[in-house]
């Protein structure tokens, strides 16, 4: 199940019996799942199934109506070691912010929680540069972030998380607005990071990509429909049940 089963189990994320709704009607009902260190987990589900909400809950951005969420062994709402979690939001591939800022400046932000109110040191800059090399866009360091393609921008945000020495990488729909070729390269990058010990948790609409690349699939539609390895998921009827049977399934791929 876990990527490298030799490791001892350490729960980075523990969601226990969580229900949550923005209004009276619940978005999520009685969700329980844990993510161990070193896992590569993909969360899938139809639009409006509460995937992004689940991410926000486990990042401590919302308080669950019932149940509890722990992040690295602490309650998520009160979680203090924030730099250990890298978050890449859903809309970063969109070019909405016209703010003049370079890729290097964005990545350096990953160091800000470490620096606190102190100055950014040359060591911080060095780490930011290394992170850019890891994701393969160090040659774009001095470009404006708005000049990058969707895929490149996605890498920049991952570099920011790496620069912050994140142990858990959380991505919300990372491939929206990224062209097909870049999507493959992007998942290869996530795979490499996972091989190096990074715990990856992503919400993704591209079910085929999740089955192909991750080591564990969580299928969600307000409640939990499936949690297990991709091959079993592909063979199960969880997708049909979660999406409803009238959903076209041309997204799906055959797993080798």
């Amino acid at each position: 199940m876990a990527h490298d089963s030799k490791q001892y189990r350490e729960e980075l994320v523990a969601v226990r019996g969580v229900s949550f709704g923005y209004t009276a009607s619940p978005v999520l009902t009685d969700i329980s799942l844990t993510v161990d260190r070193g896992e590569y987990v993909g969360i899938v589900g139809p639009n409006g199934s509460g995937k992004s909400t689940l991410l926000r809950l486990l990042l401590g951005l919302h308080e669950p109506d019932s149940g509890s969420v722990d992040l690295l062994g602490q309650p998520a709402r009160a979680f203090a070691e924030r730099e250990k979690v890298g978050y890449v939001a859903q809309d970063v591939t969109e070019n909405t912010k016209r703010m003049p800022i370079t890729v290097a400046e964005v990545v350096l932000m990953g160091r800000f929680p470490h620096a606190g109110f102190g100055r950014v040191t040359s060591d911080d800059r060095e780490r930011a540069h290394e992170a850019l090399e890891t994701v393969g866009i160090h040659h774009l360091a001095d470009r404006k972030i708005t000049q990058l393609s969707g895929g490149q921008r996605q890498r920049a945000y991952i570099a920011r998380a790496l620069a912050g020495e994140a142990e858990l990488l959380v991505l919300d729909e990372p491939t929206v607005g990224v062209d097909a070729e870049s999507v493959d390269a992007f998942f290869d990058l996530l795979g490499d990071l996972n091989d190096d010990g990074m715990t990856v948790l992503l919400v993704e609409h591209d079910i085929g990509a999740v089955i192909e690349h991750t080591s564990r699939v969580v299928c969600l539609n307000r409640e939990l429909y499936f949690d297990g390895d991709p091959v079993t998921f592909a063979e199960s009827d969880a997708l049909d049940r979660a999406f409803g049977t009238n959903v076209r399934r041309d997204d799906e791929v055959v797993v080798s």
């Binding site: 203090a80 912010k97 003049p100 800022i101 800000f112 774009l140």
Partner: protein, 329 residues
């Protein structure tokens, strides 16, 4: 105005130090003026005006950069109008109780309270919207107008200087208030620069990173209130927001990085203030308006420059190299 009727609550030692500082600045400019034969530098009020203008042209774009890129450009305008209510409160209190509080001090207090109120309203209700800003703006201005009309006597005569700003009324005392505001704003921004940048650029990621976004929003609003009141002396209530926005918009046209944008906005604001004050002295035009017109002229210039720049960049760097391809340059 003598130093004895200084702002209430200002302890005398730092006050005297600042007083001496401004005196020295004044003497310096006077000498330069005599040396180079520049007529306008004979006048002490012009020395104060240039000092105040230069300080405004640092702090307004500094704060404005964060505001503009959070799409909060309007908040400066809203707070300026509440600052006007603060001025009215000061004048009202002085007239009623015979005190000598500087209206700029009451303006700072009222504007900062209003800034907090805006933040709290937007936290409790929905996010920022122009409607709540517009309400705060008109409430502030209405309150000011009513308070002033309640004052009998010649008070209304002095209102123009707050509405439109005035070079000649920048007394040494007012210059000292501005220096204090400048030091406070610069210190706070230096200390919280990284946090403000993070919150401005990516609010959700900032929250995930453990920053208290509401707290920094409040801080930002308070800083804006301080800058607005500081800049009001020369710019006036109606035009003060332009200093927060126009140089920043100009800088965004030409800058590549955030640091560059900050620096460029300050440089362009300095240029606008220097040229604006000089022109307004030369042609006896109102300073605030002249400065804004110069700033807008600069803005138009930077748009053209930005167009040329981006055309060059497109020519050089198309297509943007992907990680698999080789680098174009």
């Amino acid at each position: 105005m003598s130093t004895s009727d200084a702002a209430v609550g200002v302890t005398s030692v730092p006050y005297n130090a600042l007083d001496w500082l401004i005196e020295s600045w004044s003497n310096e400019l006077r000498e330069i003026g005599e040396e180079l034969g520049i007529e306008m530098l004979e006048y002490t009020f012009m020395h104060h005006a240039f000092l105040v203008g230069a300080l405004i042209a640092v702090m307004a774009p500094l704060i404005g950069t964060f505001l503009v890129h959070r799409q909060l450009a309007l908040i400066g305008d809203a707070l300026a109008h509440t600052a006007f209510a603060g001025v009215a409160v000061g004048l009202f209190v002085n007239a009623t109780f015979g005190t000598g509080i500087s209206p700029y001090i009451t303006a700072v207090v009222v504007a900062m309270v209003a800034a907090l109120a805006i933040e709290l309203i937007s936290e409790v209700t929905d996010a920022y919207n122009d409607v709540s800003m517009a309400i705060v703006l008109s409430t502030g201005f209405a309150l000011g107008a009513v308070l002033i009309s309640l004052n009998t006597g010649g008070l209304a005569v002095g209102i123009n200087q707050y509405l439109f700003g005035n070079l000649a009324t920048v007394s040494r005392e007012n210059a000292i208030i501005l220096v204090v505001l400048f030091v406070a704003v610069s210190l706070i921004v230096t200390l919280t620069y990284k946090q403000l940048l993070y919150v401005t650029f990516d609010e959700t990621a900032a929250r995930v990173a453990g920053l208290s976004v509401p707290w920094y929003n409040r801080l930002m609003a308070m800083l804006t209130a301080m800058v607005v009141v500081g800049a009001m002396q020369i710019m006036g209530v109606i035009l003060v927001a332009a200093m927060l926005v126009v140089p920043v918009a100009s800088a965004a046209q030409v800058a590549r990085s955030f640091k560059e944008a900050l620096l460029a906005s300050v440089v362009l604001a300095q240029l606008a203030v220097l040229v604006g004050i000089t022109l307004s002295y030369q042609y006896e035009a109102t300073a605030g308006g002249t400065i804004v017109l110069v700033a807008v002229a600069i803005y138009i210039g930077t748009i053209l420059l930005g167009k040329v720049q981006s055309r060059q960049e497109t020519a050089e760097a198309r297509p943007i190299p992907d990680e698999r391809e080789q680098i174009a340059d």
